[in-house]
């Protein structure tokens, strides 16, 4: 119990620190966020052009707009960039600073991610609410059960994405080319997660692979729930697969971290 209280104190302090850093760089943060919107907007433009002549695979123009707005929204909420930070800390040996202190490096990283997500989430919710009276493309089901379902799916998606890229980043303990691996996974993720097109428009073999790669569960699943077009046998099935990925990747992280520390040679200085 006192350990939990102590951990909460650490998180509350770390989050205040990350908030202070975010404010120092508020301009950059905003630009990153706007920058991240470009890709879905361009993809959206392509699909609205394609669907101008009529619905494609069950999606008409309005559906595409709602879909890509949801991608933009969920995409920001599941984002993580720890691999780049971890790479830098490993390369420069600054990871040592964190290892010397009696609190896991993971808490430092994770608390940062939470702060940015709260920031992005608040901004986007405000934007969504402002847009509501003006256009019906942002209209989604406001049924409390639906909203809770979407929220849970987004939280699990964020956890899967976070642990996946954190675990990949830990390969940096063994190779200096870890970022190449990260880039490869990012590229696969673009295609398999539903960022380029709604899942039902992707080839059959992609849909068959759905449960065996983590990508759909990082983005496609919560987006489909948000837009009311799910492609899974049942909600329970969807959440079970999400949970399995989250648990599996967290276990992978724990193993890699423990082994990585043994090989860590605390480079530099």
């Amino acid at each position: 119990m006192s350990r939990l209280r102590s951990l909460l104190r650490v998180y509350s302090r770390l989050m205040k620190v990350h908030w202070a850093i975010l404010l120092e760089y508020r301009g950059d943060t905003l630009f990153y966020m706007l920058g991240s919107f470009i890709y879905p907007l361009v993809t959206l433009a392509v699909w609205t052009a394609i669907s101008a002549g009529g619905a494609v695979g069950g999606y008409d123009q309005r559906d595409f707009i709602t879909y890509f707005l949801a991608v933009l929204f969920v995409g920001r909420l599941v984002a993580s960039w720890d691999a780049w930070e971890i790479e830098q800390h490993l390369r420069e040996g600054t990871l040592s600073n964190y290892l010397l202190r009696p609190s896991s490096y993971f808490h430092w990283r994770f608390s940062e991610n939470i702060v940015y997500k709260l920031f992005y989430g608040t901004l986007m919710l405000i934007a969504w609410a402002v847009a509501w009276p003006f256009t019906d493309v942002v209209h989604i089901s406001l049924d409390p059960i639906d909203l809770l379902t979407v929220l849970l799916a987004i939280l699990l998606a964020a956890l899967i994405r976070y642990m996946l890229f954190y675990a990949i980043a830990l390969f940096g303990f063994w190779t200096t080319r870890m970022l190449a691996l990260v880039t490869l996974f990012e590229a696969l993720s673009q295609f398999f997660s539903g960022r380029i097109a709604p899942y039902s428009l992707l080839p059959d073999w992609v849909q068959t692979l759905q449960a065996y790669t983590p990508f759909y569960w990082i983005l496609g699943f919560p987006v489909d729930l948000l837009t009311g077009k799910t492609h899974v046998p049942s909600l329970a099935y969807g959440f079970t697969v999400q949970l399995a990925w989250a648990v599996g990747l967290t276990a992978l992280y724990l193993v890699l971290w423990k082994r990585g520390l043994k090989t860590y040679s605390a480079v530099g200085g």
Binding site: S6, R9, V10, S12, R13, L14, K16, V17, A20, I21, E24, Y25, G93, T94, S96, N97, L99, L100, R101, P102, S103, L261, K262, Y264, S265, A266, G268, G269
Partner: protein, 327 residues
């Protein structure tokens, strides 16, 4: 609680990947990787008693930092045993981390973009320092290191010396009783070096902390350490009292004279080896065993205007140790 450091036959060998320069080398290394073993530290044994301040000296690449990293738990030893304050460092237990600190002059634990006070508060939470003790320690450190005007400024706006002072404070908030200092005065001006030295001395007295210090500035060592350990090529060359080091390695003292009229070198060399001779200044090495006799002779026989006799500079003594090692 015991803050002794005991190290027995500690060894760290790295396997490093070697690559030829250029694109060809990069491609070849894709298929055939060649490895080389670097023996950073080999069979080091030492004991540091509670409350001791020990200087850990050696040229760059001698194995000082590798040893420090094994003592703080950042590196797993290849073989041998380490015990620091009753803990095995590489097990990285929280209780162990709360008792030690490592201050690196070239690396900062301070969070760059925000005031140092924020790092202090993070450390308060991480080290679970009770509020009252935290306030007291911060006040004390603020007093000793004159931090008051610095704590509210973003760290990136501090000068190197100011940052080092904040660094020391951040590293000692949890009142560790085993302290590792890796070049704590590097890049600091003379006044700031002196401040840091006095502070380390005061902290050691106050908490009976065990201190292991590396530095390239001999003034740090002579001011703080009674005992020094010299390491080169990963092995210990000397471990003992600073005085003994000087006596053993430099069995001479240095006589400095200012002459009122020129004297030939051949006449001066009667008293000892001439180290330096540009009229009117002369520096002569005099055998330790007959320092008083030779001094009396010089004063009586030479046109001496000014005369001092002192120990050789530490830098010279240390380089003698390295020279003896490679001979």
């Amino acid at each position: 609680m015991d803050n002794r450091i005991v190290v027995d036959q500690l060894t760290k060998h790295f396997r490093v990947h070697e690559r030829e320069a250029g694109l060809g080398g990069a491609v070849r290394s894709l298929f055939k990787r060649t490895f080389r073993t670097v023996e950073a530290v080999t069979d080091i044994s030492l004991t540091i008693e509670p409350g001791e301040i020990v200087g850990f000296l050696g040229p760059n690449g001698a194995g000082k930092t590798t040893t420090m990293k094994m003592l703080t738990g950042l590196l797993h030893p290849t073989r041998g045993t380490v015990n620091v304050g009753g803990y095995v460092p590489y097990e990285q237990r929280a209780a162990f981390k709360k008792r030690i600190t490592l201050v690196m002059g070239q690396k900062s634990q301070l969070i760059w973009d925000i005031p140092a006070m924020e790092t202090f508060l993070v450390n308060q939470a991480i080290y679970e320092i009770p509020e009252a003790q935290f306030r007291e320690t911060v006040d004390e450190l603020t007093d000793l290191l004159e931090l008051a005007p610095l704590l509210r400024k973003p760290v990136r706006n501090l000068s190197l010396g100011e940052r080092m002072k904040c660094e020391l404070a951040a590293s000692l908030l949890h009142r560790p009783d085993i302290i590792f200092l890796d070049e704590p005065t590097i890049g600091l001006d003379v006044n700031m070096q002196e401040t840091v030295r006095q502070f380390i001395h005061a902290y050691n007295e106050r908490f009976n902390a065990t201190v292991l210090l590396t530095s390239h500035y001999m003034a740090d060592v002579t001011a703080l350490c009674k005992r020094v350990i010299i390491i080169n090529h990963g092995t210990i060359l000397f471990d003992g009292q600073l005085e003994r080091l000087v006596n053993d390695l430099a069995p001479y003292k240095v006589a400095k004279l200012v002459l009122s009229e020129p004297v030939t070198a051949s006449r001066l060399s009667e008293y000892g080896d001439i180290m330096h001779h540009v009229h009117p200044q002369v520096t002569i090495k005099v055998n330790r065993s007959d320092v008083s006799a030779q001094s009396a002779r010089m004063l009586a026989e030479l046109p001496v205007q000014d005369f001092t006799i002192e120990d050789p500079p530490m830098e010279d003594v240390i380089s003698l140790a390295f020279a003896r090692d490679s001979a």
